[in-house]
Symmetry: C3
Subunit: 151 residues, 3 copies
């Protein structure tokens, strides 16, 4: 992104691939950023250092792994969970897993800074996962028209 | 959000909890706003004044309740359906409920200002609801670099 | 969108209906745009010139048709797949169709410019489709505070 003249803004998306995050299992970037808005690909409960290892067992462990993977991606681009504004949670066993997923999920956020969220039950997720979570984050300070300020 | 110097913008998210809207049944804010972009948590067909009351019966009544709940949240932060730009609709009985949901949904919007929308069938929703709807809205005027103008 | 005074920005959403794109089967615009952010309604594998014709057979053909329909909408508003930053893919036969959908999908993007993406299995889609895809795109240059520059 670079300001090119008074009153105009040219924005080029950044396609982030984060070292240390789980290898993409399909054609996507870990996150894409434009103008300080960051769209994070849905993370799965795969182990970041061995994508082929069995998934953690149970919804609590899988939710924790998914959230930790999102944190790895966020940190890799200089952000944290405090920058997350909107979240979607997908569960393959909705009735059974909704409450325990919420219990783990809640622990990652400050109670007065809870993102907007939608959670639905789905028929299937990659890798046979029980849970997938994607989100939108917002960098606190972005450059406009020539200035710059990173957070 | 506050401009801090020429060419830079610092954006702090607002985590909106709206009095009069249904009590959150899980860890989320009713809506989160940054730079005039507002992400609304998916609303359920719960009664705003009694979250434990039985849900309205049938897809028409539940769609109306969900849309009315979204309107409560939007109004609580000074917005209306005319500010909605993007919507997602989740149905637990897709084949059966898609057409009647559309009939009710359509009535909330001006025909020349229909939001972008995606509607899919899901295996489960909180509270055993038939329908959940979330959306993104845009405040018409936002402050940049020191000025301010609310709508 | 028009700048109204120093430091403020007034943004009016554009509700795009694109000639040549499939007729909307429900109450939505093809795409809605504010400040260079474009929200595209989920496209179905319907034929753009005959919405009542049978859908293409199989996930490969349907994925191709969906992506081609998205391209029609993008081109209709002066954009292309290179402007897409975030994608959601919905499949009605997740296990069976995830891999072949990926193979077709991948071909539409430059390998170093892959959008963030989430893909989930759903219980139903309009028109009995196997796949629906929606996305968010970003115009490269937008007017702020009086200047203008289109890409």
């Amino acid at each position: 992104m670079a300001g090119n003249r008074r009153g105009a803004r040219v924005s080029q998306p950044l396609f982030h691939m984060v070292s240390g995050a789980p290898e993409p299992v399909a054609p996507f970037s870990h996150a894409v950023e434009v103008d300080g808005w960051v769209f994070l690909t849905g993370q799965m409960p795969t182990l970041p250092d061995d994508d082929t290892a069995p998934l953690p067992e149970g919804i609590e462990a899988q939710t924790r792994r998914v959230m930790d993977n999102l944190v790895i991606v966020l940190r890799g681009i200089g952000l944290g969970v405090r920058h997350v504004v909107s979240v979607r949670v997908y569960l393959t066993r909705f009735e059974q897993d909704y409450a325990p997923m919420n219990d783990v999920y809640r622990g990652y956020f400050s109670p007065d800074r809870l993102p907007a969220r939608t959670c639905v039950g789905v028929t299937g997720l990659a890798r046979g996962a029980l849970v997938e979570i994607d989100c939108v984050a917002r960098r606190e300070s972005v450059m406009i028209g020539g200035g710059t300020s990173e957070v």
